[in-house]
């Protein structure tokens, strides 16, 4: 049935095309000139007006996108200390971009309309002007210099982590096809030595920790990432098979996990999961999502998901890593130091989980 429908639709499109061509050809029949496939004054006029119309369309789609999708972008409510600085830079860059976009698109399409060709008109022979060239070289230089300097300061701020001074909590993010694990350093806040060559599945040594290393004994391996609010965290990323990328959009944090090396990224979470759920923007988002989910509730229940959505931070895989790349997340829970300590007490250390 669907195949038949498709064939009918294709047929209709073909007929519509054929008819359109006939109409176009008939419309041209009167002109008779041997060179009638070159734009005439009439074509210039129509397309000139269409250029104006297109300018309106560009502005309209911009406004519509902001109206209907404006609450999507992550440029507010960052949940990490460096996040707000990064958001500011983003907003400034966006303002610059939208200003330039609005002006240049206007000039381009307005000129295309204003100077549309007419028979007998002659264009201005105007080949060069060094002053003008200098102006639109120097202005971008100044604007970009500002953005570069601001950007580099932000980048250095984010990337320079002083382990001595900040005393960050060390957490390892361990990626494999297709899940995440997190490892805490335990009481000594020091990760034990590890290498995938030491993985021993029979002994449940799944991350390849050095069983002899005293630092490894109190390490804690979990599948849900808990972080205390307010304390700097330094993530050490590892991967056991292919490239993955640890992407934590709400914390404005991302770093690739590369087999054979340890990469790192540090930030300070500032907003607990509970606080974030109370945030008006997030509440609105959750309401929207739940409304949409109710519309397709049958499908969702069938796929085994919970129908009602509650906000949670997520760690996503953001580097193509194979079949279930889309299905590789870990929940992140930011909580108060006390809650975190209580949770940590319940976890088993590496020495205790190892099957001897």
């Amino acid at each position: 049935m669907t195949a038949l429908l498709t064939i009918i639709i294709v047929l209709f499109v073909a007929i519509a095309l054929w008819q359109m061509v006939k109409i176009f050809d008939l419309a041209q029949a009167g002109s008779g000139s041997s060179n009638n496939q070159v734009a005439t004054d009439k074509d210039n006029k129509i397309n000139g007006y269409l250029m104006l119309g297109f300018l309106v369309f560009i502005y309209a789609i911009t406004i519509a996108s902001f109206m209907y999708l404006g609450d999507l972008p992550l440029v507010s409510n960052s949940a990490s200390e460096h996040g707000s600085g990064l958001d500011n830079l983003m907003i400034i860059s966006m303002i610059v971009i939208f200003f330039v976009q609005t002006v240049t698109q206007f000039l381009l399409h307005y000129f295309a309309y204003k100077y549309r060709g007419e028979k007998g008109k002659k264009a201005l022979f105007y080949a060069d002007n060094n002053t003008l060239e200098a102006i639109w070289t120097i202005i971008p230089v100044i604007v970009l210099a500002g953005l570069i300097i601001y950007g580099l300061f932000t980048w250095n701020d984010i990337m320079n982590i002083d382990v001595e001074e900040d005393d960050p909590m060390i957490v390892e993010l361990y990626a494999q096809q297709f899940n995440w694990k997190a490892r805490y350093g335990g009481d000594d806040n020091t990760l034990g030595q590890a290498n995938v060559r030491l993985i021993d599945l029979d002994k449940a040594n799944i991350l390849g920790l050095d069983e002899e290393d005293p630092n490894a004994q109190d390490d804690i391996i979990v599948t849900e990432l808990h972080l205390p609010a307010g304390r700097p965290v330094l993530f050490k990323m590892r991967s056991q098979d292919v490239l993955h990328s640890a992407y934590m959009p709400h914390f404005r944090a991302q770093m690739n996990c590369v087999p054979g090396m340890v990469t790192q990224f540090g930030f300070t979470p500032t907003v607990t999961t509970e606080e974030m759920r109370q945030n008006p923007d997030i509440q609105q988002k959750v309401i929207n999502i739940n409304e949409l989910r109710r519309e397709r509730s049958a499908e969702i229940i069938e796929s085994g998901q919970d129908l009602v959505y509650e906000f949670d931070y997520l760690l996503l895989c953001n580097k193509i890593c194979g079949k279930s790349h889309y299905n590789m997340q870990m929940k992140i829970i930011v909580e108060t130091q006390e809650e975190f300590d209580a949770w940590m007490k319940e976890q088993k250390t590496f020495a205790n989980t190892l099957i001897k």
């Binding site: 734009a39 210039n44 404006g70 976009q101 580099l152 990328s245 959009p249 690739n256």
Partner: protein
């Protein structure tokens, strides 16, 4: 022009020394005009259809995830059981769509068609420096196309590691099925493709340097030729690096070396690889990969420069600045590759350096955009379909280029890296822009290629629907990306976080489907005009460049009789003191006429 009209009287048989058979004329041709058409049909039309079809299937899967679809069932066969697309084949579609569009359509198709057609004709040469190498270049390209298409018919499916084929995913068959035979074919195809591309590029460079006709100094070259020339130079510098990366990856895959692999535990066993680094591959890949963006874009900008000047009936504004910005872009393009790797684990200091060089590239780009706009100012614009596509190119080049300021900034890249924001950015700035360049070129030089005109009304219909759909697809996509939605996800409804993007995804897919469908109008126009189009005049657009002084009927050697001599730059449009609003390059200066010093 009158000079060539007289030359026309010389009979064709003077040039036709040896008889051409069907095989030497249409198949193993050494004539640049025929090779250009071969590239056009294989690279742009055939590979373009496949590439666009794939993108539509990708979009349908995103909008209606895991829904049975009769098109999937028909086209994907066993990879879409009951019409539901398999997750592995989704990644394969993403991979091959990227590969086909970037390399086959917009590198080989674009440069192959227009460099081949225009370099000899616009510089006043009989043919390429080496017709034989040119033919070999095309047939190597053809073989690489066949191998790439073949990979769809192997047991485990085609390569599926993304068009960037980062190891270890691309190196280990146990990591995904596509990394078996499919990836081998991908690598072999690309190695042959690179050989083809290098032969082509060397030929272009030698031809432009050595075979310019009398009077055609470098400063009298049309901007098209400048762009093709510089593109070829970038290609010769950067493609060998990708070749080396591909060869090293083949070694890692088949001969047990460890260039890119180390410490891997997969499917219950430790592999022997030790000491290599995937980051090394990323460096090698992007050393080509970024210049590649400009290999795709510069020819399109060159074509646009020529078409905008001709149809504005005005000299291109700031010829010297245009050449300088092409050279600046070319130079900078080779030192910015690291902006693809800000979060790859390389030293953050390198991130700072690459941020700096990357944002510098915005300056020559801005100069080009403003020069195009100024060229339109006080022109007498002939809004032919080619001109519409050129203006459209400037528009998408600006829209797409501006978001580069965000992605090129290492700090901002952290949160939009590998999201739909990136997809929107590069599709607008290099995908759509370069495609517009291809379309503009085809509409403009169709009379030169086939001696007939394309239907302008169908051209208008094609442009306006395409232009609306291009913005409709890629503008909202920025917002989805800024919501943090990662690209290359088979479905986004597996967990609720991004459920509020589903409606936007649906709208995007509808725009994409309409935009894809309207390309059929172009296809019909193109194919039917080859046979039934109105016969073209010799110089239908009243253009100054030399290709329009050659006779409409193609002859081997391009001009009957002697080659034209050049007396002026190519942009003497509406020059005061001349009756007509164009003065072809082969018209001598009249007494007392001043030549612009460029």
């Amino acid at each position: 022009m009158s000079a060539t009209a007289e030359n026309h009287v010389h009979d064709d048989h003077e040039v036709h020394h040896h008889k051409e058979t069907f095989v030497t004329k249409y198949i193993f041709s050494q004539d640049h005009k025929m090779i250009a058409k071969q590239y056009l049909l294989t690279g742009v039309i055939f590979m373009g259809i496949i590439g666009i079809l794939m993108s539509l299937m990708i979009r349908m899967q995103i909008a209606w995830p895991e829904q049975p679809n009769v098109i999937f069932e028909a086209l994907l066969g066993k990879w879409a059981p009951d019409g539901v697309m398999d997750a592995d084949i989704y990644l394969a579609l993403v991979t091959i769509h990227g590969t086909l569009m970037v390399f086959f359509v917009l590198t080989a198709g674009l440069s192959g068609t227009f460099s081949n057609l225009l370099i000899p004709l616009q510089i006043g040469a009989r043919d390429m420096a080496s017709g034989f190498l040119n033919m070999v270049s095309y047939w190597l390209f053809f073989i690489s196309c066949v191998i790439m298409i073949m990979s769809f018919f192997v047991e485990a499916g085609p390569a599926a590691a993304g068009w960037t084929i980062y190891p270890p995913l691309s190196a280990l068959p146990m990591a995904q099925p596509g990394s078996g035979m499919g990836m081998t074919l991908w690598l072999v195809s690309m190695a042959i493709f690179i050989a083809s591309s290098l032969l082509g590029s060397l030929n272009y460079i030698v031809t432009v340097i050595n075979l310019r006709t009398k009077g055609m100094s470098m400063t009298r070259l049309p901007l098209t030729i400048w762009a093709f020339f510089v593109t070829a130079v970038i290609g010769v510098i950067s493609f060998p690096v990708l070749l080396s990366a591909a060869l090293l990856l083949i070694m890692d895959r088949s001969f047990g070396t460890s260039f890119f692999l180390s410490d891997i535990f997969i499917q219950g066993e430790v592999l022997h690889y030790q000491g290599g680094s995937p980051v090394l591959f990323e460096h090698l890949f992007w050393f080509l990969g970024h210049p590649e963006v400009y290999i795709v874009l510069l020819p399109a900008l060159g074509i646009t420069s020529e078409i905008i000047a001709t149809n504005s009936r005005k000299p291109i504004f700031g010829y010297r600045a245009m050449v300088a910005s092409i050279l600046a872009i070319a130079f900078l393009s080779t030192i910015v590759w690291g902006h693809h790797m800000f979060i790859s684990g390389m030293n953050p200091f390198l991130g700072s350096v690459f941020t700096f060089t990357t944002l510098l590239i915005a300056i020559p780009s801005a100069v080009k955009a403003f020069n195009y706009i100024t060229t339109l100012w006080k022109g007498n614009l002939q809004l032919n379909p080619a001109m519409l596509f050129s203006i459209g190119l400037v528009s998408t080049f600006i829209t797409g280029g501006l978001t580069g300021i965000i992605l090129g900034d290492s700090a901002l890249d952290i949160n939009v890296h590998d999201t739909y924001f990136v997809v929107a950015h590069f599709h607008l700035v290099m995908g759509i822009s370069a495609l517009y360049g291809v379309f503009a070129g085809i509409y403009h030089w169709f009379p030169r290629m086939f001696g007939r005109m394309m239907n302008k009304n169908l051209g208008y219909l094609h442009f306006w629907v395409t232009a609306i759909c291009a913005y409709g697809v890629f503008f909202p996509m920025h917002f989805i990306g800024m919501a943090g939605l990662p690209r290359r996800y088979y479905t986004n409804s597996n967990f609720p976080l991004f459920d509020d993007t589903t409606n936007a995804q649906m709208v995007i897919t509808i725009f994409a489907l309409v935009g894809g469908l309207v390309q059929l109008v172009f296809l019909y126009n193109f194919l039917s005009s080859i046979f039934y189009g109105k016969k073209a005049e010799q110089n239908p657009w009243k253009s100054n460049t030399l290709e329009w002084t050659a006779p409409v009927k193609h002859i081997h050697g391009n001009w009957p009789g002697p080659l034209p001599t050049v007396y002026r730059w190519p942009y003497d449009y509406s020059k005061p003191g001349h009756e007509e609003d164009f003065v072809p390059q082969n018209v001598p200066l009249y007494e007392g006429e001043e030549e612009l010093q460029h």
